[in-house]
């Protein structure tokens, strides 16, 4: 399948309803594809309910039918933070349809922090994890502690990741932190949220929408690899506490399908819900050996002017993380990087192969997709 069109709203705290984020992203993708909604044969949509319940709408597919005045099949694929990637993976398997719109929208940041964090907590297991204080920051802090204990990485390594992503987001007009760079010392001295993770190690919950149109028609960007794997909800019931098995499995599948190795990738968007997750993912995706992820960030190879930039968009950390939208926003960035459309943050030389990596929960569902620039 090929990418025909992409669209994305600015990530922010605007109070538009969820469906308007969906609408704006879809219209941009249709314009990019030079299509209209009548050309779309099916829609795959991803979202979760809003935190406060003020926009509680459990029949979103019918809402979208009404919004777009279409009667095509619309499937909803929620998988928390991994929803966008899971929706894209699903769309790739809809062989019957020529043009599929993959869409995600969230108005998630709509209440006090304690309410929103409590709602995000619902992606952890209720009886044995939520009750025991396993917020996502604490879960990831514990995974990171075990990693540091085993491999000896430092908090300064994570600060470098945060600094890199904030620097990139400052160049991205659709990122929350556009033109708002953060200096390294401020990152290192930010308040502790769940020790040892600091505020500046955590991604930013925002609102937004993103849309991708895939097609059987040949275009300038081809999907050459797709992998999807899941793992146990109980994070500490997994065999390996320091790595995410689902990422390893999804990456293996995607690379096998693409017939390439991690060395062939020129640019990647990695799921940095926490800076520690980005570092661990370097290893799980095969960009670094186990325990050597810190060498990658220290070397500068993954900075915007490095050999293989990671998160040129600013990532979840600084572009923002509107839950289900993230997986599609990553694809939006990679497609634009492959097309050479990214202006100030354009990876040079123009990349040929790009990768996206989207995680649901604390590593419970993961998709990896690989894209290739097609010579015309």
């Amino acid at each position: 399948m090929y990418i025909k069109g992409v669209g994305m709203t600015k990530f922010d705290y605007s109070v538009k309803p969820w469906w308007l984020f969906a609408y704006d992203a879809a219209i941009e993708a249709l314009a990019d594809a030079k299509m209209n909604i009548a050309d779309i044969d099916a829609i795959v949509f991803s979202s979760i309910s809003s935190a406060a319940g003020g926009e509680h709408q459990t029949h979103k597919v019918s809402f979208l039918s009404d919004l777009f005045k279409t009667n095509v099949p619309i499937i909803e694929i929620p998988s928390v933070c991994g929803g966008g990637g899971a929706a894209f993976w699903t769309a790739l398997h809809l062989d019957e349809y020529d043009n599929v719109l993959v869409l995600a929208a969230e108005k998630f940041a709509d209440n006090k922090s304690d309410t929103v964090v409590d709602w995000i907590l619902s992606a952890a297991e209720k009886v044995t994890e939520q009750t025991e204080g396993m917020l996502f920051p604490t879960q990831n802090a514990l995974v990171w502690q075990k990693y540091m204990e085993k491999y000896g990485a430092t908090m300064d390594d994570l600060s470098l990741i945060s600094f890199k992503n904030h620097s990139n987001a400052a160049l991205n007009p659709k990122a929350y932190f556009y033109k708002k760079p953060i200096d390294l010392e401020k990152i290192k001295s930010s308040p502790v949220v769940a020790s040892p993770l600091r505020l500046m190690d955590c991604s930013l919950s925002v609102n937004g929408g993103a849309a991708i149109i895939i097609s059987k028609d040949e275009t300038d960007v081809k999907v050459i690899g797709s992998g999807f794997a899941t793992d146990y909800l109980l994070t500490f019931g997994r065999q390996d506490l320091t790595h995410f098995k689902a990422t390893q499995l999804a990456a293996k599948k995607a690379f096998e399908q693409a017939g390439i190795t991690p060395k062939d990738v020129n640019v990647a968007e990695i799921h940095d819900a926490f800076t520690s997750v980005e570092l661990i993912s370097y290893e799980d995706l095969g960009f670094a050996e186990a325990g050597k992820g810190n060498e990658l960030i220290r070397s500068g190879k993954i900075n915007l002017d490095g050999e293989m930039p990671i998160n040129p968009s600013g990532g979840l950390k600084a572009k923002g993380h509107p839950i289900s939208v993230t997986g599609l926003a990553q694809i939006y960035e990679i497609v634009n990087q492959l097309r050479g459309n990214c202006e100030e943050r354009q990876v040079k030389p123009e990349p040929k192969i790009g990768l996206t990596h989207n995680i649901g929960g604390a590593g419970g569902s993961v998709t990896v997709h690989i894209f290739e620039k097609v010579k015309k």
Binding site: T128, T131, P137, T138, L142, Q145, F236
Partner: protein
């Protein structure tokens, strides 16, 4: 904590399932005995479910290399064991989390209070039965909770013929209707225990109170309260051992505190087990809480529960009891405190 292991492939679950989906053989239930902290994070951000910060979120590991999530307000060092010293205090309240297994949670709370039952004990169970409603309303003791109590008693080798399950209606609703609709009658039938209407029993005078003779004959009375925010649910439930007319008359002559205290003096063999797995808010909405509480002093238990659930108002009968003066054992109040009124 319990875990379930497949004897063939050795996969493990924390969920109470019966068959291994890979090998299709029965799983073996095991209990983790020793819990050691292997990683610890100090959480600084409050949420509705965890309003008191800082707290510590740990990974703990048992002697079988099973790992679990665990929260404390006390700081633990890596390698330190988490253990609780039982107390022998008639006014103490035990607090414990239900991790899918109600029977196991009840066993833990009673161990924390050094309470054990002899095999030949005669037990009278007093479930909360106040309205003819389905279990999900959480008006009455839940069938699962009653079944869990019975399972615990059977594991103690107490025979069904030595167990009585009794209730009484203080309004016009026939107790049979409530027993049937709540699902409690089914639990009685499945376990071959005949339910007993306290109103139809003989009553004996003890001081100012007329108490059912069945209560006085029992070695142990288990007051099974379903806890509700802003109520003294355990105390209200124990009043059901009184003759209805005596109770209504006593309310004119004495305060509820006086009745409760006199009753406590007369019923030294009463143990309250408070159900707080899913609880009712003052607006009748139900919320998951995942707890059970136990104690011999039902007034103290009701006060501690209202502290945990951050009740904005509570009955006079418990309002003046200072929670800081009550000894608690097991999980700490701040560990399990939950701002249920705002969720």
């Amino acid at each position: 904590m319990n875990f379930f292991k497949c004897p063939k492939c050795e996969r493990r679950w924390q969920y109470p399932i019966r068959l291994c989906p890979h090998c299709l053989v029965d799983l073996e239930k095991s209990k983790s005995e020793k819990m050691t902290v292997v990683a610890s994070s100090k959480a600084m951000i409050p949420t509705i479910m965890h309003p008191a910060v800082p707290y510590f979120a740990h990974i703990i590991e048992d002697e079988n290399n099973n790992k679990y999530a665990y929260k404390t307000v006390k700081e633990y060092k890596i390698g330190e064991e988490i253990k609780y010293e039982p107390v022998d205090d008639k006014d103490a309240v035990a607090i414990w989390r239900i991790k899918y297994d109600i029977s196991d949670a009840i066993k833990s709370t009673l161990q924390l209070l050094k309470i054990d039952f002899a095999e030949n004990s005669k037990i009278l169970i007093l479930p909360t039965l106040v309205s003819p409603n389905h279990a999900y309303f959480r008006e009455n003791t839940s069938p699962d909770f009653l079944a869990g109590v019975l399972q615990f008693l059977f594991e103690k080798k107490i025979k069904p013929e030595n167990i009585k399950i009794a209730a009484q209606s203080f309004d016009e609703t026939p107790i049979e209707a409530s027993a049937q609709k709540s699902g409690l009658l089914d639990v009685c039938m499945k376990n071959n225990i005949a339910p007993l209407d306290i109103a139809k029993t003989n009553f004996v005078k003890q001081g100012n109170l007329e108490i059912s003779e069945e209560i006085t004959k029992a070695d142990i009375v288990l007051n099974l309260s379903i806890l509700k925010i802003g109520q003294a649910a355990s105390t209200e439930n124990i009043f059901k051992v009184l003759k209805k007319e005596n109770y209504l008359a006593s309310k004119y002559l004495y305060s509820e505190t006086e009745i409760a205290n006199e009753l406590m003096g007369n019923l030294a063999n009463t143990i309250t087990i408070g159900e707080a797995e899913v609880i009712q808010r003052p607006d009748k909405l139900t919320v998951f809480m995942g707890l059970t509480l136990a104690g011999k002093n039902y007034l103290n238990l009701d006060r501690i529960f209202n502290e945990i659930s951050m009740a904005k108002a509570m009955p006079k009968i418990i309002e003046e009891i200072r929670p800081e003066n009550i000894k608690t054992v097991g999980r700490e109040i701040k560990e399990v405190q939950y701002n249920i009124n705002v969720c």
